[in-house]
Amino acid sequence: MASSQHVLLSPAELAYLHASLSLTPPIRPDGRSPTQFRPLVAETGILPGTNGSARICFADGTEAIVGVKAEVERTRTRHDFPSLDLDEGAEDDDDLDDNQRDVVKGDNDWVEMTVEIPGYRDDDAGTVFLSAMLSEALLADGEFTKRLWINRRFHWKLYLDILLISPPLSYPLPLLSLTTHLALLATRLPRLKSEGDEDPLFDDDWAAAPYLYPRPTGKKGSKKAASAPTARPPVTLLVMAVGNNIIFDPSKEELAVADVALAVSVGESSSSSSTTSTSSSKPTAMDLDTEETKGHNLRLLSVRTIDPPSRLTPPGIPNASNSAYGANAGAKDTEKKKQQQEQARTAESEAVEGVWKAPRGGAKPLVMAALVQKVLEKGGVADEVLDALDGVDLN
């Protein structure tokens, strides 16, 4: 499903939507505040046959289900895993082997993500774009695949199947991303009993299975996560700009009048690793660090422009140049015609109030930066979304 799927809205509707969303504060058709998401119902662990699963639905009946399945797979021999030729290399370079023993490596091939949207082919450009975006965010930090490492010869292969149950009533990106997030949080892998590079052997007891993303100590579950960092899977938020307003979780109608739409993926990592702080000339670095301890330690993982469908909307015709508009309809005299044509020409270059005009060109870099900033700022939307996701009962 392309983001630019054909939205059939009349020019008058588009003009109205654009006008109401450009007000300060904007008036959204469903009365939400600019940063407000649609209320949703979420649950996890709905599919006992999976390693982890989640389901989210909106009040309008849009519903997504994600199931995570893991399989043990033999790691393919690669020259960048030099430790793999165990039989021959074991004797001559022992020291090297020891060094390599602790190196946990991941490979992006270990994760397979498919998105299925009813009514769209699975190789549809839009579906591919969605899954590329979701997997890009997941793999961005390179940490995720390391969790799938079992030993030097085996790894988990993770299949993430993302299903939209109902035909999409709006661009499903945030819905799919939140569902995937919850499913990954609920994912557990059997506890490893074997040691070293033996063929892996796992514990039968599902209750003992550790979570893929270890929980902080306070909560029930995993034992090994006593002091583990509270990393978590990324979330991708859809945010758009109309006029001077920044609007989150836009509905299909709202997206149809967007000037620019961005998908911003945000992750959270353990506090220690983030001190690879890039800009050395940061006087407030210390203050920031102390602040960070209470909030989420957000990381920007990916940003993509979503081609807004607004460019493909039918333009409105100003009354001045509308031949079916009452006063002009009967006009016969050429003078009036000429006047009309002139008015029509100005109408092409200038915006007439109340007439919809599909946007041309791109977006100012400053606007795009503001969108990203709005997502990431302290106590901003990403923070609150992650807080709300914390409240979901994981079972």
């Binding site: 450009a125 591919v128 961005a140 060109g361 791109g362």
Partner: protein, 286 residues
């Protein structure tokens, strides 16, 4: 039952052998380092009108990194504007369809003839970048196909060991695709608000362990120790607008400055590419 009439290959996949040079076993392979200044893009060759049978076409070549690697070679043809088939519903705009395909031999790993997800993803990015630049309502009820074949992808011979570099290479490929498609569109005489060109900037960590990461434009991933983040920008210079932005990496949210700088550098790279593009178009006319 196995096919006995042919000589069959071994069952299962194998990995092509990679020969270790014994002399270099312990020492680090001498790796190319970036010789250009951080804000200069590589030289590129752009020519329009290379395919006479297409409505518009262009060819782009970016010089190779210099140590046995291959540069980027792209060929783009534009077919249209032409009438849509009868069955398609009325459209007040031109319908754009983009196809990006790596030639099977373009990269180290042979690619199939069917477009894989990366190629489709590139196509979507390209479409978004171009859609902002063309004046779509000039051509109602018509369609245009933009077909790009990547004849040679950018791959360094020495980088075989490096992992995850392909991901960064796609950004370079996309930026080339945008530039070449823009030239071909202009060649085909399709109305555009501005010439769009692609540019890439990356935040890289160089060899030294403690070296501070720096931002470079038009990065060659193999020249750097590690690419921390990169972004590809499609920019309209006269309108000063971005039609497509693709950022990927891992940046702390408190470091918005780095992100902003990265985007700025991307825009700068795009402007440089745009100068080549405009020169090339002038040349054709003149």
């Amino acid at each position: 039952m196995a096919d006995r009439r042919r000589i069959n290959g071994p069952v299962g996949t194998t990995i092509p052998p990679i020969y270790d040079d014994a002399s270099e076993k312990k020492s680090e392979v001498a790796r190319a380092t970036r010789s250009r200044p951080a804000n200069v893009i590589r030289k590129m060759y752009l020519k329009t009108g290379v395919t006479p049978s297409a409505s518009g076409s262009a060819y782009l070549e970016i010089e190779s990194s210099g140590n046995g690697g291959s540069g980027l070679k792209l060929s783009c043809s534009v077919h249209g504007p032409r009438a849509l088939p009868r069955s398609t519903p009325f459209s007040p705009h031109i319908i754009l369809s983009t196809h990006v395909k790596f030639a099977p031999f373009a990269t180290k790993q042979r690619r199939g003839y069917i477009r894989d997800p990366i190629e489709r993803d590139l196509g979507t990015h390209l479409e978004a970048a171009l859609r902002g630049s063309i004046i779509a309502d000039r051509w109602p009820k018509s369609g245009v196909d933009i077909i790009i074949s990547i004849v040679e992808g950018e791959q360094d011979r020495e980088t075989s060991k490096a992992q995850g570099i392909e991901a960064w290479d796609t950004m370079n490929a996309l930026s080339g695709c945008i530039t070449v498609a823009s030239a071909a569109l202009a060649d085909a005489g399709i109305d555009c608000v501005d010439t769009v060109a692609g540019g890439v900037a990356a935040l890289v960590q160089d060899a030294g362990d403690d070296a501070a990461p720096s931002i470079v434009v038009d990065p060659i991933p193999s020249e750097h120790d590690k690419v921390l983040a990169a972004c590809c920008i499609a920019y309209l210079p006269t309108r000063q607008e971005v039609t497509n932005l693709w950022f990927k990496g891992d940046l702390p949210a408190s470091d918005m400055d780095v992100y902003t700088q990265l985007v700025e550098k991307g825009i700068q790279a795009s402007k440089s590419a745009n100068r080549v593009l405009v020169d090339c178009l002038n040349e054709t006319v003149g």
